[in-house]
């Protein structure tokens, strides 16, 4: 064999070997004889430590299944690509608003058969959760997800700033009128330049879910006939309220100048930590970050003020979820782990007796999504205000936004409308009408696409029910 030809053969064999070795390695049975479930999750640091503790607990509880945990950045996009390529993880840790789109596309395993195999009906399974979390797990009449860790967003206020403004630090605003009055009292300007030094509240902080103000005002984002963004007068009222903050505080430039130095939640420059903003609507996780970036901050947690007469317990709820992507190789084993994370020991009286989801939520300092909490979880939870979160999660007015498959698009339209309103670039009516026009097209297109693929469920047949 001539040298070049030998070189070519060596290259080809080497190339094939390079590709083939990992493939063969992946196909080899694991040495411990257990089924290895691949689990992709977004968490790192203390959140990862918590889920790893739960995994260890699960692996101790039985000898058949092992969990291979992999922290993955951009988990939603990677799960999409892996699922499309036919090689998804057995479990993916997604966000609740993605369940609808994934389920509509037939990309998630329904958990109904597994629940029924365990001797429960889906309704009985869901009845263990607070209703709002049950609605997150379910889509079009089927269970597609289990909760990993839930969140409740509610009012956080800086008690030191309340005292300085002559307000009772133990009495948060109870109505929208009070909230607005508190905002005025807590806003300070430089007497010489008029520059804003601190504000009671700023709608764009943190600005992650602009749609929540609409729901707080009693608005609906969709109904049985489609998108209702510009049709519901409550939505318009909410956006008028948002615009009011800019108008009453010197216009967009004054607000933007004030907000220019703000850092995010994981930054010491966060305006709530630095005392630039006195009240924020934030999640149950905030206590963790306060302890890290502003230890000793004197803050309180309470319900959203009453924006709709009679609704004293409004809250926004969301969650991280566990799903089994279509094509998962160990779906039944994956279900065993999801079931474990979505269960707990109701009689736990010591930390060692905490199990499943309660152990995870305890270590991540979040509330439990379950109706029933164990005595230890209730009484020894590290979050000083956990009872507030429990009360609000159980509220009939707890709202979850992402129930429709076009929610990512919807949320971006909301964010743009919110920006245009707060920057006084458009009237609230115009901003909502523009978003509504685009979303009407998007919703019709989405339904047409599902129909084209033979995926339009009975529930979405005319009249359209998002």
């Amino acid at each position: 064999m001539s040298l070049p030809r030998r070189a070519c053969v060596c290259l080809a064999v080497g190339g094939l070997g390079g590709v083939g070795t990992p493939v063969l390695h992946a196909m080899a049975p694991p040495p411990d004889g257990r089924i290895h479930v691949t689990y992709w999750e977004k968490w790192t640091q203390f959140e990862e430590r918590a889920i790893r503790a739960v995994i260890a607990e699960f692996e101790r509880s039985q000898d058949r299944i092992a969990i291979d945990y992999l922290p993955v950045g951009l988990i939603d996009r990677k799960t999409i690509v892996a699922t499309a390529g036919g090689d998804p993880p057995d479990i993916a840790g997604l966000w609740a608003p993605q369940v609808a789109a994934f389920a509509d596309a037939g990309a998630l395993e329904s958990l109904d058969p597994y629940i029924e195999h365990d001797g429960l009906t889906p309704a009985q399974w869901l009845a263990r959760y607070e209703p709002v979390y049950a609605s997150i797990c379910e889509h079009n009449g089927h269970v597609f997800a289990g909760i990993s860790t839930p969140l409740v967003m509610t009012l956080h206020w800086n008690r030191t700033m309340f005292r300085a403004a002559g307000l009772d630090p133990d009495r948060p605003p109870r109505t929208l009128a009070e909230f607005n009055a508190y905002c005025r009292l807590l806003t300070k300007r430089d007497p010489r330049t008029g520059e804003i030094l601190q504000m009671g509240f700023l709608p764009q902080e943190p600005g992650w879910w602009p749609g929540i103000f609409l729901r707080w005002f009693g608005g609906e984002l969709w109904d049985a006939h489609g998108v209702t963004l510009a049709k519901d007068p409550h939505n318009l009222a909410a956006m008028e309220w948002v615009a009011g903050f800019t108008r009453d505080n010197g216009g967009p430039d004054a607000i933007n100048t004030f907000a220019a130095g703000f850092g995010g939640m994981t930054s010491a420059q966060n305006p709530f930590y630095t005392g630039k903003i006195a009240m924020v609507f934030q999640g149950v996780w905030l206590n963790n970050y306060i302890r890290q970036y502003k230890p000793g901050l004197d803050f309180g947690v309470g319900p959203w003020p009453e924006a709709v007469p009679g609704v004293k317990d409004f809250a926004m709820v969301e969650s991280d979820v566990l799903v089994i992507p279509r094509g998962a190789k160990h779906a039944a084993a994956a279900w065993e782990f999801i079931k474990f994370v979505n269960s707990h020991n109701p009689n736990a009286r010591t930390r060692a007796e905490l199990q499943g989801g309660e152990l995870l939520c305890f270590m991540q300092e979040k509330n439990s999504p379950m109706r029933q909490w164990s005595p230890f979880f209730t009484e020894h939870h590290p979050h000083p205000y956990i009872k507030e979160f429990r009360t609000l999660a159980a509220s009939p007015h707890a709202a979850f936004l992402g129930e429709v498959g076009i929610f990512p698009e919807y949320n971006r339209e909301l964010a743009t409308a919110f920006d245009r309103v707060r920057l006084l670039m458009a009237t609230p009516g115009q901003a909502l009408a523009d978003a509504q026009a685009r979303l009407d097209v998007a919703w019709a297109r989405y339904r047409r696409s599902l129909e084209r693929h033979g995926l339009l469920p009975q529930e979405m047949m005319a009249p359209a029910t998002p």
Binding site: P4, C8, I80, P206, G261, P408, E409, R412, M425, R452
Partner: protein, 307 residues
């Protein structure tokens, strides 16, 4: 073909076979597949269903498509000429006979090798309306005429110019190419012009520019292609605009920085409309190819390959 040539051909093919297979699998196939998907209703998670020209017809009526195209052309229209002037200016300065030339060349080139993500995060602070170095420098100057510096990324009117300003940070590559071009201009041309009494400007206009015109053409085309595909800066910085308020990937504030590729990315990976995004990609391909062809046509008479 002689047996020896054939042997050489097969040897060459053998050595390049892995690359050819890679090119076919990882570039050729996706390019052709995305062309097919552009005529399909395809969400990545479902099988593609043929829908003819529907995606292209929808593009015409999609105001976000036009908005993102306008934003991108605005950005390219500012950043390409400005970048060309700055890069050529720096190259001319570095071509001059000054002490410490290697140091300055390194200094001006360094920003180009900083990863875009790192430089975007750096520029987020440089462009901060209240504490940013740029506004700290501008504030006393503008105060003389009673003006305030812009809030850059937080202001829809200034967000795109802010990104243009940032793009000048990366002109090092073009600068090096201009420098190479300048070094190829025969010195005797300058000497002859100097004897004839030509000023510095005239020497630049009548000698330097014509002699480096192919380099200018090359750099302009490459810059144009890059500017029309601007993504990373906007992706990172639009989320950071507004003082850390998260806004996803829709070109904060109020879609002022919703560039074409950003819109394409959101359409594909958030809205799961890969077919439509593929159509957008092919429209962008046609736009880039057309503008490149136009640049070639317009510059044909002005290019000088004598050097």
């Amino acid at each position: 073909m002689t047996p020896r040539e054939r042997r050489q051909l097969f040897t060459g093919l053998g050595f390049t076979s892995l690359w050819i297979v890679g090119l076919g699998l990882f570039t050729g196939y996706p390019v052709l597949a995305s062309l097919y998907y552009s005529f399909c209703d395809y969400s990545i998670l479902t099988s593609p269903v043929w829908c003819g020209t529907e995606n292209y017809r929808q593009l015409v009526h999609d105001d976000l498509f036009w908005k993102s195209l306008y934003n991108t052309l605005f950005y390219a229209g500012l950043s390409v000429p400005l970048g060309t002037v700055v890069a050529l200016g720096l190259a001319l300065l570095l071509h001059a006979d000054v002490r410490g030339k290697p140091f300055f060349r390194t200094l001006f080139y360094l920003p180009s090798i900083v990863p875009v993500v790192a430089s975007a995060l750096l520029w987020l602070w440089l462009l901060n309306g209240q504490f940013g170095l740029i506004n700290v420098a501008l504030r006393p100057i503008l105060a003389l005429v009673g003006l305030e510096p812009p809030l850059w990324l937080a202001d829809p009117a200034w967000a795109k110019p802010a990104l243009v300003l940032m793009s000048l940070w990366g002109t090092g590559n073009a600068m090096i190419i201009y420098l190479a071009g300048l070094q190829n201009v025969p010195r005797e041309l300058y000497e002859a012009a100097a004897i004839d009494g030509a000023s510095g400007w005239r020497r630049f206009w009548h000698i330097t520019l014509p002699m480096i015109s192919p380099v200018v053409y090359f750099n302009v085309v490459i810059s144009l292609v890059g500017a029309l595909q601007v993504f990373t800066q906007a992706f990172i910085m639009s989320s950071g605009a507004g003082g850390g308020a998260a806004g996803g990937t829709d070109g904060n504030p109020a879609r002022a920085t919703l560039f074409y590729t950003l819109n394409l990315f959101s359409t594909a990976f958030y809205d799961l409309r890969m077919g439509y995004a593929s159509a957008m990609a092919y429209v962008l391909f046609v736009i880039i190819a057309s503008l490149t062809w136009l640049a070639t046509r317009l510059s044909r008479k002005h290019l000088n390959y004598a050097s």
